[in-house]
Amino acid sequence: MLLATLPALGLGRAQAAETPATAFAAVRPDYRISFPHDHGSHPEYRVEWWYVTGWLRSAGHPDRGFQITFFRARPRLTAGNPSRFNPEHVIIAHAAIADSRHGRLLHVQRAARQGFGLAGSETGNTRVWLDQWQLVRDGPRYRSVIAAPEMGLNLVMTPGQPPLLQGVQGYSRKGPGAESASHYYSIPHLRVAGELRAGGNVQAVTGEAWLDHEWSSSYLEPDAAGWDWMGINLADGGAVMAFRIRDRRGCTLWTGGAWRDAAGRTRNFRPEEVQLVPLRRWRSPRTGADYPVAFTVTAGPVEFSLEPLMDDQENDTRATTGAVYWEGAMRAYRQGREIGRGYLELTGYLRPLAI
């Protein structure tokens, strides 16, 4: 689960050597994730996100997808600025609702520099907020509020399973180079209850979600253009995550993923074990980007096909992160039978994610 680019924030800009600039902590294979500390923010790393995706049910409405993301990004700055406005961290939040009746995403975005108590992220436990928007870990539960004129979400999410550490003990490689990696864990099968507001219409909702928490200082290989990522809650209680990093020619640069079966046994995939074969493409009438919106997925012993809730789940966040991507609610099928639900993320299809 990725969105490392944030080019608009100048994360990738090399600074002139003579000015002392921000230094970032490196991702290390020997880092051991420990809770609850690692639920919290890691301000010494360059970029970090908490990413919740899931499906919601409500009376009298077809099932809907939702996505809530909080990013913390640390721009490279010239040292010595005493201003309270100095943007040592920037908090960005996105939220979207995928409603097949609406035909495309209803999405909102916001960004602010950390400070003045108005936006920030805490260490020690999950608490990240931007004005009234927030994602907070409160006891075992997560609580999230998104309140915009167009839409609102007020959800309580309760884990039913322990966190799933991705990669090797949460050290997740993103490319052939050892430094292209992140610290990464997921919490699948979150039970969701709360309210959804679209327009002026408030509805009680329940559902199931997936949380990713990931932090890094050097995410992608220079040659990488984007990725295809999926996280699926399987109906039998299992969970599968698979991703592929694409290079600028569209070829697979790296793959990865993990499967936790219904009994709780986890298996990490070797790069050659993950194969994503596009089944169908959809071209965005707004941006012209051409996305593969359905896949046949082979990840080790797990095989299924992935179909979107609807084709148009493109998310234009150029105003905050500079990226246009596709982030959609998906159903997984095996032999025509639904075996799970989750989310698919496709980045770098409009133009390569510049790092």
């Binding site: 721009p75 600025n81 309270r84 406005f85 602010a112 520099r113 108590g117």
Partner: protein, 836 residues
């Protein structure tokens, strides 16, 4: 019948003497053109002002704004967290001084992530890449600023913070549409850091939740704000910035209207003469059964047609003129309010119609009096031979005239709305009208009373003048109207200039004056630098000055607070006070010396208390005296710098004045000061004599536009004389023929006419001088006081006035002679037969 009447009254005369009609049309066109172009340029400037203010406010519902030195940034989270506030976008906004003598640039420090929501113009497309903003070396320039400084992306620009140089890189240039005015945009943190403004903000733009009640949000905001910080709607902000220049713009509009008034007067004179000449035709038509209203309608229709034609030509010419003015010098008409501003010609259809109607109305007014009179004449009387102009004017005009003058006096007691001295201008119009009406009896009385023993042709001319007051009245009143306007303006400008000169000597007593930067607000001198300057051997005495600004009144632009050393004998001696200050009671709060504008706007007299938002809590001050300030048009308050430092702890200064030790040259002293500062290249060190010279030059430039108006008025006046005499000459052909038969030569007749012209214009100019004197006093004591809140001492240009008087009399004599000779070139002798 009406067709025949039209033919007789309008069509025929128009064809037979197109020149006269053309003159009337041109006179109206001239007035309209002047008025329209001045109005257009002003309206374009005002519209541009508004657009710029609105563009800066973006989509904010409310703007919280503090004084120039800003307010505590911790206000921002308190406001952002207030219920009902959807978005709060903090900003710095200041005039950044440049190193060298380059003009300052307005820099806005924004939090792009917050401003994004309120400034769609800035973020349209990918106009503002946030990437460039976080870098504290970067600045984005509006296209206008890039043009003004001649820089492009990647270039460096040097600014001034204190005496330190801040070097910024032009990271990008915004597209033309984003901001039209010269403007730089930086990140708020970068701006705070680089310009030494950490901890302060200048404004917070606020968007209110859609369902929240704007007024209650505004009220709860206001309770949060410290003194001197105000919450305004962008509209109110707008009105405030427009108020800054409204008085100036209105006065220019009024001056242009005066040109139109003179134009109407030309219509009056041409129409009067034309109607007198058509007396027979009109009476015949009346005898044939055309009703009085029909005749009146036709004559007024003719006037309206002249007005419409003049209006159309005037609008075209005025539009062209305004276009040229905008292209050549921008919207600034000389006063400096709109310098650096670019604007497009801003024409609204309503304005076009208004000026067209104005032309028609003035022309109809000009026609009204003679048309009423002739159509009221019994046909039998009108058909009788003889020149009705010879009739002695009745007492009615005299009474009306006196009533108008009395009305003018009464108007001055009326309150004026805002800063628009409308009653004052109405009084001037009434006074002119009254003088014109009163003139004929006064003039004849004057001519009769004069013990003139003139040689032959002139004695004849004098007799003729006394005997035909109607003809005389017209040429005389042309001169009266135009000359009185010129005299009034001269008197006002001369008084103003003299007062300014005296004032400059009073406020600039030292030998040199030093400013931390030639323009902008970010240059200042630290206490260490001040110490080094004080110790310079070449300086006998140094006075320091700190100027900040204060928002004392939410509807007014910020006033300037000047904290300076009182100097020799205290402020009572060193400030250009309006009156002797009263002795203050023992134990009074510290003294504040306020400028006339502050006294007017805040309604303060010496001895009153005044709260100033300085330091932690607003402090009470006592108004010690009122002084005259021509420099700061938004008001200024002078306090002792010691009091200022005690309250604020601010030891920085913007300006200093220094007296040189004997034998030290200005150059040597300047070098010493620059050396003491180290980075002294940005200092603006001026010889006081240069400042005075420059100030007077600026003054002259400001009033340059009034010279155009004066010349236009004089030209129109002389045109009136020429017109009157040419018309008279035609009417008097029989008389001339008779004189020729009696043995006078052509030359003698011409001399006689020149004498008549000189004599009548002399009388007109004398009365004009009197009337202009009164109008000048009105301009000085009423109009200027009400619109700009400054007083001035009356000073009469004793040399210029007589010179002008003589030249106008000479010009009038020449005009009379030439036009009359031209009009009577055909054989005069034969004309005697005409009426027999």
């Amino acid at each position: 019948m009406i067709r025949a009447a039209w033919q007789a009254l309008v069509g025929g005369p128009l064809r037979s003497s197109p020149g006269r009609t053309l003159l009337a049309v041109l006179a109206i066109a001239c007035g309209i053109a002047l008025g329209f172009s001045v109005h257009l340029v002003n309206a374009s400037a005002a519209a541009e002002f508004r657009r710029a203010a609105l563009q800066l406010a973006g989509e904010a519902d409310l703007v919280i704004r503090g004084p120039r030195q800003g307010f505590d940034e911790m206000l921002y989270p308190r406001i952002a967290g207030l219920p009902g506030i959807a978005i709060a976008s903090p900003a710095l906004e200041f005039q950044a001084s440049r190193t060298a003598a380059a003009p300052a640039l307005k820099i806005i420090g924004i939090d792009a992530l917050r401003a994004r929501e309120l400034q769609p113009a800035l973020f349209a497309g990918e106009a503002l890449p946030a990437i460039d903003l976080f870098d504290p070396d970067n600045i984005l320039l509006s296209a206008a600023a890039a043009r003004a400084f001649g820089v492009s992306t990647g270039d460096r620009l040097d600014f001034l913070a204190g005496t330190e140089t801040v070097r910024l890189r032009v990271a990008a240039i915004l597209p033309d549409g984003a901001y039209r005015q010269p403007l730089g945009i930086m990140d708020i943190a970068a701006a705070q850091w680089r310009f030494g403004m950490t901890g302060t903000l200048h404004r917070i733009d606020v968007r209110v939740e859609p369902q929240a009640d704007m007024l209650s949000v505004q009220r709860s905001l206001q309770t949060l704000l410290p003194a001197g910080v105000h919450v305004l709607s962008p509209d109110a902000e707008n009105r405030r910035s427009a108020a800054l220049t409204r008085a100036y713009r209105t006065n220019l509009d009024m001056l242009a209207l005066i040109a139109l008034f003179t134009g109407a007067f030309v219509v009056y004179s041409t129409q009067t003469l034309a109607i007198l000449r058509r007396r027979m035709q009109i009476s015949l038509l009346r005898a044939l059964g055309v009703s009085r209203p029909a005749v009146l309608g036709l004559l007024l229709g003719e006037g309206a047609a002249i007005g419409a034609a003049g209006g159309l030509i005037g609008i075209a010419a005025g539009g062209l003129l305004a276009h040229q003015l905008l292209a050549a010098s921008g919207v600034d008409l000389g006063a400096g309010y709109f310098r650096q501003m670019q604007a497009n010609l801003h024409v609204e259809p309503v304005t076009l119609v208004f000026f067209l109607l104005l032309g028609v109305v003035f022309a109809v007014i000009g026609t009204l009096a003679p048309a009423l009179e002739i159509s009221g004449l019994p046909p039998a009387q009108g058909l009788r031979a003889g020149d009705p102009a010879g009739q002695t004017p009745g007492s009615r005009p005299l009474r009306y005239g006196l009533a108008a003058i009395a009305g003018a006096a009464l108007l001055l007691w009326l309150p004026h709305p805002g800063e628009l001295p409308l009653p004052g201008y109405a009084a001037i119009a009434l006074l002119l009208l009254g003088s014109v009406l009163v003139l004929p009896p006064v003039a004849i009385g004057l001519l009769r009373a004069l013990p003139l023993q003139l040689p032959m042709p002139h004695a004849l001319g004098l007799a003729r003048l006394i005997a035909t007051p109607r003809h005389v009245a017209i040429s005389m009143s042309s001169i009266l109207v135009s000359f009185s306007l010129v005299v009034a303006m001269l008197l006002m400008i001369h008084s103003f200039r003299t007062s300014l000169d005296t004032w400059l000597h009073q406020v600039l007593p030292a030998d040199i004056h030093v400013r931390a930067a030639s323009s902008g607000e970010t240059g200042y001198l630290t206490p260490a630098v001040q110490q080094r300057i004080t110790e310079l051997p070449g300086l006998q005495r140094v006075e320091f000055l700190r100027s900040v600004n204060l928002l004392l009144h939410p509807q007014r632009p910020a006033m300037t607070l000047i904290a300076r050393d009182p100097g020799d004998g205290g402020f009572a001696r060193t400030l250009p006070l309006v009156d002797t200050p009263p002795a203050l009671p023992e134990g009074s709060p510290p003294a504040a010396w306020i400028s006339e504008l502050v006294a007017d706007v805040l309604q303060l007299r010496p001895g009153d208390r005044l709260l100033l938002p300085l330091g932690e809590q607003p402090q009470a001050w006592i108004v010690a005296g009122i002084w005259r300030d021509y420099a700061r048009q938004n008001g200024a308050i002078v306090i002792d710098r010691a009091d200022y430092i005690r309250l604020t702890g601010d030891l920085r200064i913007n300006d200093l004045a220094a007296w040189l030790a004997p034998g030290v040259t200005v150059e040597a002293a300047a070098d010493g000061i620059r050396h003491a500062i180290g980075n002294g290249s940005a200092l603006d060190i001026a010889d006081t004599r240069d400042i005075r010279r420059l100030s007077l030059a600026i003054f002259d430039r400001t009033f340059a536009v009034t010279w155009a108006l004066q010349i236009a008025a004089l030209a129109i006046g002389l045109l009136g004389v020429g017109l009157a005499f040419s018309a008279q000459a035609l009417a008097r052909r029989q008389e001339f023929g008779m004189l020729r038969h009696l043995g006078m030569t052509r030359r003698e007749i011409a001399v006689m006419l020149a004498g008549e012209g000189a004599l009548s214009s002399a009388v007109g100019a004398l009365c004009g001088m009197a009337c202009g004197g009164v109008i000048g006093l009105l301009l000085i004591r009423v109009i200027n006081r009400q619109s700009f809140h400054w007083s001035m001492d009356l000073a009469v240009p004793w040399l210029l006035l007589p010179l002008l008087f003589c030249s106008i009399v000479l010009c009038a004599a020449l005009a009379a002679r030439c036009t009359a000779v031209l009009a009577t070139r055909s054989e005069m002798t034969r004309a005697v037969r005409e009426d027999w």
